[in-house]
């Protein structure tokens, strides 16, 4: 199978400081990769490099083997910067996921609006289509941003901690939806919650300044130590614990 995306010997960083060194990774069309690692390890930077928002200092990103175009990459940022008090509706926000194909004039057709309705309905947001964002819950808002990421039918979906703000009752449903999406697109998903995502991802990539690809859906403490990729304590409710494997 041809890879969608190939990163080779890539270095990247900001303002002269190198955050990622010697990154090499092949992403295939049916991949579902959990990107894990400590805070500041470069997980988000890796996604931003793929999106072209951070220019690599050296190395190569090759989209050619899978004929992947930038417009075929969907993105859900870690903390969406959107101002929820800004006067836009759910439909407006979701349609913005099509802007990459529209140029500066950004005309939306009836077909675009139909597609937006489909995606919004699929994610269980049908009754919110004309609503402003400040009337939505955190979980609904996150689904709106997921809808924005997938409306363009991407072949590669980049998710940066997508379960943020998603209430626990919807979290499993959210990941199940990603599993369904993975049938038609590759997914790279940053998460701190290794235990939960190990039920959904097919492989891991530990990112801590550099990258270690782990081609299995289960990862152990020993693996992480071997990859030099300590996972920090995170809190679930009031009880802090190391997130490793299932819990």
């Amino acid at each position: 199978m041809k890879s969608l995306l190939k990163l080779s010997d890539l270095d990247a960083g900001y303002d002269g400081s190198v955050v990622l060194r010697n990154i090499s990774l092949d992403v295939y069309p049916d991949d579902f990769i959990g990107i894990i690692g400590p805070n500041g390890g470069g997980k988000t930077t890796l996604l931003r490099v793929i999106l072209g928002l951070v220019k690599p200092l050296s190395g190569r990103i090759d989209f050619s083997s899978g004929n992947l175009r930038m417009s075929e990459i969907g993105y859900l940022p870690q903390i969406a910067q959107g101002d929820t008090l800004f006067p836009v509706t759910v439909e407006d926000v979701v349609l913005s996921g099509l802007m990459i194909n529209k140029g500066v004039f950004g005309r939306m057709t009836h077909a675009d609006k139909r597609r937006a309705r489909e995606v919004i309905n699929d994610l269980g947001l049908g009754n919110t289509i004309g609503q402003p964002l400040n009337e939505l819950s955190g979980g609904q808002l996150q689904r709106v941003y997921l809808a924005r990421a997938i409306i363009g039918s991407p072949r590669l979906l980049l998710l940066d901690e997508p379960a943020n703000f998603v209430d626990p009752t919807f979290e499993a449903d959210f990941y199940e939806k990603l599993k369904v999406l993975n049938q038609r697109m590759a997914i790279m998903m940053v998460s701190h919650d290794v235990g939960t995502i190990s039920s959904y991802v097919k492989s891991f990539a530990c990112v801590n300044g550099t990258i270690h690809y782990h081609p299995h859906d289960k990862i152990t403490d020993e693996d992480l130590r071997a990859y030099g990729c300590p996972i920090q304590l995170v809190t679930h409710g009031d009880v802090p614990h190391v997130v490793l494997k299932k819990h």
Binding site: P77, A80, G82, F86, D92, S96, I100, V104, F105, G106
Partner: protein
């Protein structure tokens, strides 16, 4: 003569109201939605420096104001964009600096000290046909800019960070929008005045935001409310001899109070309906 003067005055007033309303609709919606009202205040006050400079050099004060307004708008955006200075600090400095420069140049202008009241509080009597033409051109530019690039302006304003994933022209359009905002504000100074223009831009968009959260609707209805408010203000100002800008603001504030009252009544009606349904 009297009727010709009255006819000219009425035509000028109506055109002025129309163009100022277009500015209030488009620019007002932009600055209120982007929470840039304080920045707009900074631009208007900084442009007072240009008015003073214009008087001192013997050129049209509005040209000086446009120069100061545009450079302060772009300067504030640049400083906050690069993270070199907090935006509110940059605005505060330029706000006071512009006023200080204006006062110094007017003080230094030889001969009769110009009447500044028209610039500070607005007066249709000081508006020339040249001003109306410039306002008209500005309105056409704003309309075309908004219609052509509606989605891009909307999405960059809503989520600049995400917009960078689909266009590399975020910076260009941000500066274009802020630059046009600066110029539009300055060209309305003769009508509403440095001190009062901010309310012309803020109140109509605020009123409409109470009833809709759709950007395009806020633009259209802000235009309508502004036109009614400004025309009513002109009429009162003409009849009573009170300063135009102040009367317009007064009328708009009354509209604002009435709209809050109306919204409260609508909500009460809606909740009554809901409770009656629940009771059934």
């Amino acid at each position: 003569m009297g009727s010709l003067f009255e006819y000219t005055f009425v035509v000028k007033s109506l055109l002025g109201a129309l163009f100022a309303s277009i500015t209030a609709g488009i620019v007002g919606t932009y600055i209120v939605s982007r929470r840039m009202v304080f920045l707009s205040g900074g631009i208007t006050h900084a442009s007072f420096g240009g008015i003073g400079l214009g008087y001192y050099l013997g050129v049209n004060p509005v040209a000086g104001a446009a120069l100061f307004g545009l450079s302060s708008a772009l300067g504030i955006e640049y400083l906050s964009d690069k993270g070199r200075m907090r935006e509110d600090s940059a605005i505060g400095i330029l706000w006071a600096f512009g006023m200080a420069v204006g006062i110094i140049f007017i003080y230094l202008t030889p001969g009769y000290a110009p009447n500044l009241m028209g610039y500070l509080f607005g007066s249709i009597l000081t508006v020339t046909w040249g001003d109306i033409i410039i306002l008209g051109i500005m309105s056409v530019v704003l309309i075309f800019y908004t219609i052509l690039f509606y989605r891009l302006i909307l999405y960059i304003s809503f989520d600049e960070s995400y917009a960078r994933t689909f266009t590399n022209r975020v910076g260009l359009f941000k500066y274009l929008s802020v630059g046009l905002t600066g110029l539009a504000i300055v060209f309305n100074i003769r009508m509403a005045g440095v001190i009062l223009i901010i309310s012309l831009l803020t109140i109509p968009a605020n009123i409409v935001s109470l009833f809709t959260r759709k950007y395009s609707r806020i633009i259209i209805w802000s235009f309508v409310i502004s036109f009614i408010g400004i025309s009513t203000g002109f009429a009162f100002s003409w009849v009573t001899g009170l300063p135009t800008g102040a009367v317009i603001v007064f009328v708009l504030v009354i509209f604002w109070l009435l709209s809050h009252l109306m919204r409260a009544l609508l909500r009460r009606g809606a909740s009554k309906n809901t409770s009656s349904v629940t009771l059934k």
